[in-house]
């Protein structure tokens, strides 16, 4: 290219001096955002907030935002993660506040830590989902879940843009429990939980392709013919490394030096 002298970057940009990891939530009606929508919203919020984000080099520089395992379109989440590369050192608490203000309500930045090894991707291998099932009787749900857990393998088929995929839901399923809204944990998927609504909580191991809440419901349909009368509402409650007792270790845990906001 004529405009670039040999030995020079096409678009010399300041180097990355700090990386910060963020946890954010996708709530309410914004659960209908796709991953691309969220990425765009963050790119703009970063600019609006004046965050000194570093950029990739070249003719088409992009802000350095690294994403991990986005919750599917239509599902809410309390535990989405990203890492931002910065050209200056920034106080994570200030970043949380500035970014949260610049984002629309419903994309809410919850906490941030300065990144250190291991990589974020190596700190997550499982997800806990809470799936609200309005109109499904708790007893029916329990029976279906028991039937699913009794199997060794339950394969469902998902149609993806790259063709049909066979997914073994049971194999990825670590645990599944049923509660009702009146005595269950307070959910944050936007609308208030319907009283008496059955809630299924599952922990799934990260697989490729990932087992989504829809796939779990598909498996319940396969083993027990369970079909919710209205669309279920799923919320990702946590991500992390699965320990021996079935708990998820907080991906930001060991780096957390600032108080939670």
């Amino acid at each position: 290219m004529a405009r670039v002298r040999p030995g020079e970057a096409a678009n010399p940009a300041p180097p990355t001096v700090q990386r910060i990891r963020l946890r954010f939530a996708k709530r309410g009606r914004l659960r209908f955002l796709s991953h691309r929508d969220i990425a765009r919203a963050f790119e703009r919020a970063v600019r609006r907030a004046g965050v000194p984000v570093s950029h990739s080099h070249g003719f088409s520089p992009h802000p350095r935002l690294s994403w991990i395992g986005a919750a599917p379109t239509g599902t809410a989440s309390e535990a989405e993660y990203l890492e931002i590369g910065l050209t200056r050192e920034v106080d994570p608490a200030v970043l949380v506040d500035a970014l949260d203000r610049a984002l629309p309500s419903g994309l809410d930045v919850l906490e941030a830590v300065v990144a250190s090894p291991p990589a974020l991707a190596d700190r997550i291998d499982a997800t806990r989902w809470a799936i609200e099932l309005p109109g499904v009787a708790e007893a029916d749900l329990r029976a279906a879940v028991d039937a699913l857990l009794a199997e060794e393998s339950v394969v469902i088929e998902r149609v993806t843009p790259s063709g049909r995929k066979q997914i073994d839901v049971r194999k990825a399923l670590v645990s599944a429990t049923v509660v009702t809204a009146s005595n269950g944990p307070g959910l944050v998927s936007g609308a208030a939980a319907v009283a008496g609504c059955a809630i299924l909580t599952v922990v799934v191991r990260q697989t490729t392709p990932a087992v989504r809440p829809d796939d779990v419901l598909g498996a319940l349909d396969v083993v027990a013919g369970l079909t919710p009368p209205v669309p279920a509402r799923a919320t990702r409650m946590a991500q992390g490394l699965l320990d021996d007792s079935g708990h998820l270790a907080d991906p930001l845990g060991s780096d957390r030096v600032t108080a939670q906001i």
Binding site: P14, S34, A41, R44, R48, V51, P52, P61, T73, R88
Partner: protein
């Protein structure tokens, strides 16, 4: 007017709720969203969106629903809607929410579950607003308005509405011939919208405060007396035996014989949008836009926008700088479009682009000039606009392939200018140039179109020579020409799609006749059929409304989208509805009009003298050119005297004000670099 046509719609809600109970339909909508494509387009919540709470709603006398009658991804970036949304929401006596056309998948679910048409801001039922304002940039959105009316429970026909229904208001460029929509819209606003929406708000507020005297008719009569407002239902149209219009007569003494367009005098007084809407969903234009001037006097004879938006009014350098600053800060967009009909023609464009490029140096903010003429363009300008960001291709619109046809349409750009500019661009590292053309222009022969191939070949040759390598691209994009009202071509016969398609087939052959050049040339065109329907709607009269309605009842939606457009549905409906009236699709489109024929829009005054338009049409047929009045003497098109407004061009003597904060994009909480 017809009433009592059955079928096709949801039943209107049996009883209208009092406005006090107007609440969100979102709880009913939400369960449907996981079942439709791209649900995010229906949830609202955009940055800079404004939602009135219940108390504000109750306390506000005039509530507007502003509609763009196309998909959200197309409608959201629309500047007209964004401007009026802010202007209205700044008024204490008005509020505005937005709505867009819903795709057929959601429409079907809304009918099944009885969810009414809604706004994306408050998800309030459209039928509960006082005014439903629709901006038509293109006639192919007409059927989408009918869908919204029907889903909202608003009777399709103006005659069937009463005081409890919103006033359905049509604006936008297509409003300069609203006759095909005369049965469905109550009021038409002609020209610039910034001021007329305030006047309409005043009229509606006063009428409501008085308790609605005289009912809906009185309200419409008052609106008909408002400058720039045309109420089709208050005019009677009669026809001659040959099918042409005999007369258009006011049906009430309070109604003016002719309606003149509104003209916003000083753009610097209207710095909107101040805080552009930033969508969460992906849309067609991902950028902030600042209108740098309005109007165009280049005099391209095919261009309705250039004719109806005269005279030229430039925004000052200072005003542009402030708007760009405000838009970038409020949105976080990394691209700013400097909009107008021909952006490189701004008298201070070099200062604007250099000043902005300096200001945003190092902030990854790029500028774009969406419409540039090759003769007003130079490579310094191109370098400035790509300095801080991404370098997209260069786009020019010669419009006609031969010099002869370019004289006919008065688009006097020379091939030498084009070749010189693209050579320089390729030498500087650009790799791609896009060229826009039209096919089916008046007096056009095959040879005129085939010369496009030669031009594209020469662009590739020049590009290879200038860049020193073979990898250069030229894309030619071709649209079918549609004669539009208020242009010198309003009398012209439209070319039949078969003629257009055949010429484009020959053009493709000619492009590929030299494979070594042709393989670097992309060709994009659509078939000519939608253009013919656009032509029917553009120059149709009130009788065409029946065709629109039949097409809609038979399922016509999103006619601007090739996957939804059905030519057969339109031709069938035209035959069924127009045949009995003694006219036809051809009569409205491919027929040449006589000088004395009453045109359906003659009573709507765009400021252009009809005689001047006719003379320019004759000049076009003779291949005569018309200069731009910004640089040569006035040629008496009539706009300045009739609008009481002279052209406003710089230099204004103002400057791009230096910004005082360190970070021009956002706040400076993170300190300086």
């Amino acid at each position: 007017m017809r009433t009592g046509l059955g079928g096709g719609g949801v039943a209107p809600r049996a009883t209208r709720l009092p406005s006090r109970c107007v609440t969100s339909v979102f709880p009913d909508l939400e369960p449907l969203l996981p079942r439709v494509s791209k649900p995010v387009q229906y949830v609202g919540g955009e940055l800079n969106a404004q939602v009135a709470d219940e108390d504000e709603w109750d306390a506000t006398p005039v509530r507007w629903a502003l509609m763009y009658p196309d998909a959200y991804e197309v409608g959201l970036p629309n500047q007209g809607i964004m401007i009026l949304y802010e202007v209205l929401n700044e008024r204490p006596d008005a509020l505005a929410e937005r709505c867009y056309a819903v795709w057929p998948d959601l429409e079907a679910l809304m009918r099944e579950h009885r969810v009414p048409a809604f706004t994306v801001d408050g998800h309030r039922p459209v039928g509960d607003f006082d005014v439903l304002g629709v901006s038509f940039s293109t006639e192919l959105g007409y059927t989408n308005l009918l869908t919204t009316l029907d889903l909202a429970g608003i009777p399709l026909h103006t005659v069937d509405r009463d005081e409890t229904h919103p006033v359905v208001l049509m604006g936008g460029h297509a409003a300069f011939n609203p006759e095909p929509m005369a049965d469905f819209v109550d009021v038409v606003a002609l020209g610039d919208g910034e001021e007329v929406v305030g006047d309409i708000t005043d009229v509606v507020a006063a009428w409501k405060a008085e308790g609605g005297p005289g009912g809906r008719r009185e309200l419409l009569l008052r609106l008909a007396g408002t400058d720039g407002c045309y109420v089709p239902g208050l005019y009677d149209v009669t026809y001659d035996a040959d099918g042409a219009i005999a007369a258009v007569e006011p049906a009430d003494p309070r109604v003016p014989r002719s309606v003149q367009k509104r003209t916003t005098r000083d753009l610097d007084d209207w710095p909107y949008p101040k805080a552009p809407l930033v969508p969460l969903a992906e849309t067609v234009h991902e950028r902030a836009s600042v209108e740098i001037f309005r109007g165009c006097t280049r005099g391209c004879r095919f261009c309705q926008a250039g004719m109806i938006t005269r005279p030229v009014r430039e925004r000052s350098l200072e005003g542009i700088g402030a708007m760009v600053d405000s838009a970038v800060r409020a949105s976080g967009f990394d691209e700013v479009g400097l909009l107008s009909l021909s952006s490189a023609d701004h008298s201070e464009i070099a200062e604007i682009t250099k000043g902005l490029a300096d200001r945003y140096e190092g902030s990854n903010t790029s500028l774009s000039l969406p419409s540039t003429r090759v003769d007003a363009f130079n490579i310094d300008l191109a370098n400035e606009i790509s300095r801080n960001g991404r370098r997209s291709g260069l786009t020019f619109a010669p419009e006609g392939g031969s010099e002869r046809i370019r004289r006919v349409i008065n688009k006097m750009v020379s091939e030498e200018d084009l070749i010189r500019t693209v050579s320089e661009a390729f030498a500087q590292g650009w790799r791609q140039v896009k060229l826009y053309f039209m096919c089916g222009l008046p007096t056009e022969e095959d040879e005129d179109v085939l010369e496009i191939a030669g031009m594209a070949h020469r662009v590739i040759k020049a590009g290879r020579a200038a860049s020193g390598h073979n990898d250069v691209r030229c894309t030619i994009s071709i649209g079918g020409f549609v004669p539009k009202p208020h242009t010198p071509f309003q009398w012209a016969p439209q070319a039949h799609p078969d003629v257009v398609d055949e010429r484009l087939r020959k053009l493709r052959e000619a492009v590929n006749s030299d494979r070594r050049l042709g393989r670097n040339i992309g060709m994009r065109y659509h078939d000519g059929k939608p253009s013919l329907i656009e032509g029917l709607l553009a120059r149709g009269d009130r009788r065409v409304g029946r065709v629109v309605e039949r097409v809609w009842r038979e399922g016509g939606r999103f006619d601007g989208w090739s996957e939804h457009f059905s030519f057969e549905r339109w031709t069938g409906a035209a035959e069924a509805e127009l045949g009995p009236l003694g006219v036809s699709l051809d009569w409205f489109t491919t027929r040449e009009r006589e000088r004395d024929e009453v045109l359906p829009w003659d009573h709507l005054d765009s400021g252009l003298e009809r005689d001047w338009l006719w003379d320019d049409w004759q000049e076009a047929l003779a291949g005569g050119e018309q200069d731009d009045c910004r640089w040569t003497p006035c040629f008496d098109c009539g706009v300045c005297p009739s609008t009481g407004q002279d052209i406003q061009v710089g230099p204004t003597g103002t400057q791009l004000l230096p910004l005082t904060v360190a970070n021009p994009v956002g706040g400076n909480r993170f300190g300086s670099a």
